[in-house]
């Protein structure tokens, strides 16, 4: 103990000892996931005992929307009270794993990204519910994005882990007055025809396209240009779903990126495209600043409110005349946390929001989404000639033709902010080439997936 005669050294030794103790106590970062639990028997009868069903959704329009759905559900089952809680989208994305491992777990949670939630066994497998409620007899493309394979990574196959009231959908809005001025009598049937209209608009001194490049709106037409036929659309879907070997560094991608860059160079896109965000783009479009506005159905209620009947909507045209259209979709997915003690009630709620006519109507009017559900379900009403009505009709046709593909932006948790968004900005400002763009997107994707 001679060394301890020096107090400073003693302190140092104490520190080293303490660190050593910590070193011993902490081995590899620990796993908190639970072991496989035997599948609980599922029941469609939710009983008569009072139950509070807690929902955790994203802040914003989700809150009044799900509150309204909760009221409808309560009217049907008066022993169930639906409590809606919310977190900001970004916060929920970052917190969801910890919320689901914690002690106060909601009964239904809006799942922004599956990430490792399935791998870590934090969500309930919904296959048994799909069977008892008959979801497995509905058009299955609506469930593709919420199926996760046994490896926990690949989507589009495997067991069902989420379902929800409705879907987003992309396409192209157009200003009916301006479209008439450039001689557009019907929506373009091919990409080439669409490009012809863009050129006409430019010649007429109009801004052809308004789009938000600051927060990723420019990725939509890129993906649409990429999916100009069935085979290419399937390739993109495989890529989105992390199918082994999926590759997007293809001639099709290079050609799509080349086209989009040419649109920017020819002035079809606004000169300051990279600085326009998703609030400014629809506002400028409504002011008559452009003929076309490629975006999604979540914009439709707002566009209708500002100018009923002024705005039309068509699906992005296919490459060849007569081919079917493809559109990007994302579901408002709700999952049942593995720790929820009211899984049966939660599943009953999920079935209700997909099938009840009033709930489906709310999905359109309050949620700005299109409901899917069974093939013979009533299509919610929307005022004739409105943009909302056009998106609802388009969605029904896509559901039948299996024309719904997920967003490339959802392929991995960070592909949008880290790769697609900055790379598209570089592409449109001529700071990267289409070939480098395609290679970079694929490279980052593989890195994200750990391939």
């Amino acid at each position: 103990m001679r060394s301890l005669t020096h107090p400073r050294r003693a302190g140092r030794i104490a520190a080293v000892t303490a660190a050593g103790a910590l070193l011993v106590s902490a081995c590899a970062p620990s796993a908190t996931s639970e072991a496989d639990r035997p599948a609980k028997p599922v029941n469609t009868d939710i009983g008569a005992k009072p139950v509070t069903l807690t929902l955790l959704v994203t802040s914003g329009t989700d809150v009044p929307f799900f509150t309204a759905l909760g009221k409808l559900f309560h009217a049907e089952h008066d022993n169930v009270t639906v409590k809606v809680t919310s977190q900001d989208y970004g916060a929920l994305t970052t917190n969801i794993a910890h919320v689901l491992t914690g002690g106060n777990v909601p009964d239904l949670v809006r799942v922004p990204q599956f990430g490792n939630l399935v791998n870590n066994r934090l969500l309930t497998n919904l296959d048994p519910y799909a069977k008892v409620y008959g979801w497995d007899g509905w058009p299955q493309s609506q469930f593709a994005s919420t199926r996760v394979a046994a490896d926990g990574k690949q989507r589009g196959t495997g067991s069902l882990y989420g379902a929800g009231p409705g879907f987003g959908l992309t396409g192209v809005y157009y200003d009916k007055t301006l479209a008439q001025r450039i001689g557009m009598s019907r929506p373009p049937a091919t990409v080439a025809e669409f490009e012809g209209l863009l050129a006409k608009a430019k010649d007429a001194g109009l801004q052809p396209i308004m789009i938000n490049g600051k927060d990723g709106g420019t990725v939509y037409p890129l993906q649409n240009l990429l999916m100009d036929d069935a085979a290419k659309a399937r390739a993109v879907q495989d890529w989105n779903f992390a199918k082994p070997g999926a590759n997007i560094n293809t001639p099709a991608m290079v050609s799509a990126a080349t086209t989009l860059r040419r649109w920017a160079q020819d002035g079809y896109l606004p000169a300051d495209v990279n600085t326009i965000d998703q609030t400014r783009a629809p506002a400028e479009f409504l002011k008559g600043k452009s003929v076309f506005f490629p975006s999604g159905n979540w914009q439709a209620p707002g566009l209708d409110k500002a100018g009923q009947g002024k705005v039309g909507f068509f699906l992005f045209p296919p490459g060849e005349a007569g081919g079917s259209s493809w559109a990007m979709t994302a579901a408002a997915n709700l999952g049942i946390p593995a720790k929820s003690s009211h899984a049966d009630v939660a599943a009953a709620f999920l079935d209700f929001v997909q099938t009840d006519p009033r709930a489906r109507q709310d999905t359109v009017t309050l949620g700005g989404l299109v409901p899917a559900g069974p093939v013979n379900a009533a299509v919610p009403a929307a005022p004739a000639g409105s943009a909302v009505a056009a998106t609802v009709t388009a969605f029904q046709s896509l559901l039948k033709s299996d024309g719904l593909v997920g967003f490339m932006a959802d392929a991995t948790a960070s592909i949008n902010v880290n790769t697609l968004l900055p790379q598209t900005q570089l592409l449109l400002s001529g700071k990267t080439s289409p070939t480098a763009f395609a290679a970079k997107v694929q490279g980052d994707y593989e890195r994200d997936l750990g391939r």
């Binding site: 104490a14 303490a18 590899a28 934090l122 400002s429």
Partner: protein, 327 residues
């Protein structure tokens, strides 16, 4: 068991062993750590350790252990929830091979110009000028105006500046008012100007802090020194160089240290105003670490970058601390 009032000898020596404001974050003395003591009374030495224990315990649990954990995580591939797999040096290699990670570090160094060089320089000038003002309403207003940005939450400042920089924001309105309409642009969306624009926000935030600190420092300088300088016929520049600047050595060190750490570890302003865009033009390590941890759930990679950043901060701060210690 000695009482709280230690023998006088202890108190005297402890002041010499713990010099104020010249310690680096890495070797901050544990509060209450005893200084050099006569070699006797083993019992007292042990009881001294006892006094240190609570503070050291907190320091160990909330600083040392997390630091150790970060280093440990950096050698694993872990999503923060599931099972971790050893990753060897992969996370560290990625720091060198992934261009974006290195570029983000480069941007942090560019930010030093805006967070440190400009605020410290301008702060010196402002403090010198304010010193010459007579105490009164104008003097007070000048101090308050300069210090207010320091009081605002950075997130609020970031949002306000985003509005000012937008296409029809205040900055462009002013340019148009002066007939410089050709130079208007969306500052935060411009590949060339985004990083400097973000930097200016940093200048605005840091300037108040530096000015107030320097003012306090100037207040401590013996007025007779200024008087002597004047009597010797020194001009204002000479006076500044011979009296003010040497007298502010400590304040300068604190300002530089604080603002450099703020530059290298910047996060909030960038996250709010540009999220690293356009392209990767304003990406900084802070935002990168946040995304790696919470978005990509690559806790290992994030830890490697965080540890690297911490070491980098120490390496940059070290020479400045040495400079401040010289007599």
């Amino acid at each position: 068991m000695p009482t709280i009032s230690n023998p006088p000898g202890t108190r005297r020596t402890s002041t010499t062993s713990v010099p104020p404001s010249t310690t680096t974050p890495g070797e901050r003395p544990v509060p209450g750590e005893p200084g050099r003591r006569p070699r006797r009374a083993g019992a007292r030495r042990w009881s001294a350790l006892l006094w240190v224990a609570p503070a050291f315990g907190m320091y160990a649990v909330f600083v040392l252990y997390p630091l150790f954990q970060s280093v440990q995580y950096s050698f694993y591939d872990w999503d923060g929830v599931g099972t971790a797999t050893p990753a060897g040096l992969d996370n560290w290699k990625a720091l060198v091979t992934q261009a974006e990670l290195l570029r983000s570090v480069e941007h942090a160094f560019v930010l030093i110009v805006f967070y440190t060089v400009l605020p410290v320089g301008l702060g010196l000038v402002a403090a010198t000028l304010i010193r010459e003002l007579r105490p009164g309403p104008f003097n007070t207003v000048a101090r308050v105006v300069l210090f207010v940005p320091q009081v605002l939450p950075l997130v609020a400042a970031g949002i306000a500046w985003t509005w000012m920089y937008s296409s029809d924001g205040l900055v462009n309105q002013i340019l148009r008012a002066f007939g410089l309409g050709a130079h208007t642009r969306d500052w935060l969306g411009d590949f060339t100007f985004a990083l400097p624009a973000v930097g200016v926000i940093g200048v605005w935030v840091m300037l108040g802090f530096c000015t107030v600190l320097m003012l306090a420092g100037i207040g401590k300088i013996d007025p007779s020194l200024y008087e002597a300088a004047r009597l010797d016929g020194a001009g204002r520049l000479r006076e500044f160089l011979a009296v003010t600047l040497p007298g502010l050595r400590r304040e300068l060190v604190v300002c530089t240290t604080f603002t450099m750490i703020a530059a290298l570890a910047s996060f909030d302003v960038i996250q709010i105003s540009t999220q690293g865009g356009p392209g990767y033009q304003t990406m900084v390590p802070g935002v990168e670490i946040y995304r790696l941890t919470f978005l990509q759930q690559h806790v290992g990679q994030a830890s490697a970058l965080a540890v690297f950043l911490a070491v980098l901060v120490l390496v940059v701060i070290w020479p400045i601390q040495r400079l401040g210690r010289e007599k």
